[in-house]
Symmetry: C2
Subunit: 324 residues, 2 copies
Amino acid sequence: MNIKDVTASVADEVEIFQQRYKQVLHAQNTLVDKVTRYVLKQQGKQIRPVLVLLSAKLCGGVTDASYRAAIMVELLHSATLIHDDVVDGAEMRRGIPSINALWKNKISVLIGDYLLSKGLLYSLDHKDYGFLHQVSEAVRRMSEGEILQIQKTRSLDISEEDYMSVISDKTASLLSSACAMGASSATSDEATIAALKSYGEYLGLAFQIRDDLLDYTGDSKKTGKQMGIDIKDKKITLPLIYALRHASEAEQKTIRSILKSSRKRAIKSAEVIAFVKGKGGLEYATEVAEGLAAKAVLSITPFPESTAKTALLQLMDFVMIRQH
Amino acid sequence: MNIKDVTASVADEVEIFQQRYKQVLHAQNTLVDKVTRYVLKQQGKQIRPVLVLLSAKLCGGVTDASYRAAIMVELLHSATLIHDDVVDGAEMRRGIPSINALWKNKISVLIGDYLLSKGLLYSLDHKDYGFLHQVSEAVRRMSEGEILQIQKTRSLDISEEDYMSVISDKTASLLSSACAMGASSATSDEATIAALKSYGEYLGLAFQIRDDLLDYTGDSKKTGKQMGIDIKDKKITLPLIYALRHASEAEQKTIRSILKSSRKRAIKSAEVIAFVKGKGGLEYATEVAEGLAAKAVLSITPFPESTAKTALLQLMDFVMIRQH
């Protein structure tokens, strides 16, 4: 299965979205226009606009408001990615140099702000206040979630409950907003919108747990990230949380001291990975992700069969089997 | 004259604003709350909320909407300052360590995003769509203005017209928005709102030209910035633009090559400063600023005398005489 199978059922709508998105991005200033055209070149699977469009299709059909929601979500997502790359000092983004690598930090931050303001003005011009609220709430949750993660990571003390709260805020919030916005662009039925919001939430949670698992199991050639890098960053994710919970006090102490020490990073990662595997942390995290995927599927089970429903189910499958 | 004279006429209102602002900033997360309390400690003259409140008072009286506008403007301004300090790698802000110096870049960017989303949600919750539009437009102009400045600076080719456009976007836009928002929180008369918007625009332009002049004339102990630092950064402002326009081709060539070379920075600044002084660049920029200050005064001349009017006139004076 390929991600293209998922988008095939809304291929025409994605095409229309892309044309409109390009128009919205167009800027008078030549440098702004150059950078935003580069942003388009850099774009990935555009999973968020696809979610908006599929959700709309499932709930009655893609409308003009669906395209506006897709544009708003993608503008916001692009802005946050550009800011993320600045903060992380990332050199590459999806196989080509990052904006900050090419235009330095200052321009990158400004372009992020520009895209964000464009998104706000676009929604305000169309009186899409509901969308604005959804997206602002997602930004608040994304920033709070990341801060909570850093805070908990520093103290090396994060419970499974904390972890679930962090990934709900930092990852699931924008995906569930995208689904809810798509649904509300097609229907005003609250229960239907809530069902899609749930689907997006469970999809996001499962996605993040799978992503965190790839730090332990992934092929770095495929994931594009070095294995164990999150462990080196002292990022404590579900497999490790489970393993620590099922370890003796002595084992916990050893692992915590390995995580705290900043030397011998390669050895450190290998030791932590072996510990997590030994305690069954990978199996546990996989089970949790599978449980969430099942809930995502249940959220949209009541809908009659359609190409959009099939695509959303395939997307959930894709998240669960991806190796990178 | 002191900036306190300006705020004295709205001292009670500023007090109410500060209490409400503190409430809005309060966060559940302990780390977020700690950082936002530090943001409060770091705050400066709060000139933007003061402008909102004075404009409202001049146009009929401070209303609940005036406080909301003041809070929105200050949240946005704080967010942009935090992001600016990250980008510039600034260690200090108003005499105490910057947020990024204390909590690193990642937390700083996230706190900036958090404050921004708080501002958006706050305005959305109160259906302040007009304020949202004003502020989003200001963010767009601020980012575009800064980008245009960097773009023009790189090519060492910026006309007076370009310069005025840059400072209007990057500095005057938020000040004129603050005044217009304050006015529109007290009256719906379009001409009155436009008068305050003009006042804020001229105030902002004059302020930025004065600020750029301080790079040539300022006492670094008072300004807190090293003299000539903008020249070292190749930032070409009005005094230099004027001087270059009145120089021979040979002189232009010499100055441009000094600006391009990255070595001997101290000597470089001294040479450029002497060149600008010799060509009368400082006098010219001062005259332009004075002309803009006169226009700011004219914008509010038709209003009957009041403590708010006096304060706005004093603020314009303060901008013109400040030495730091």
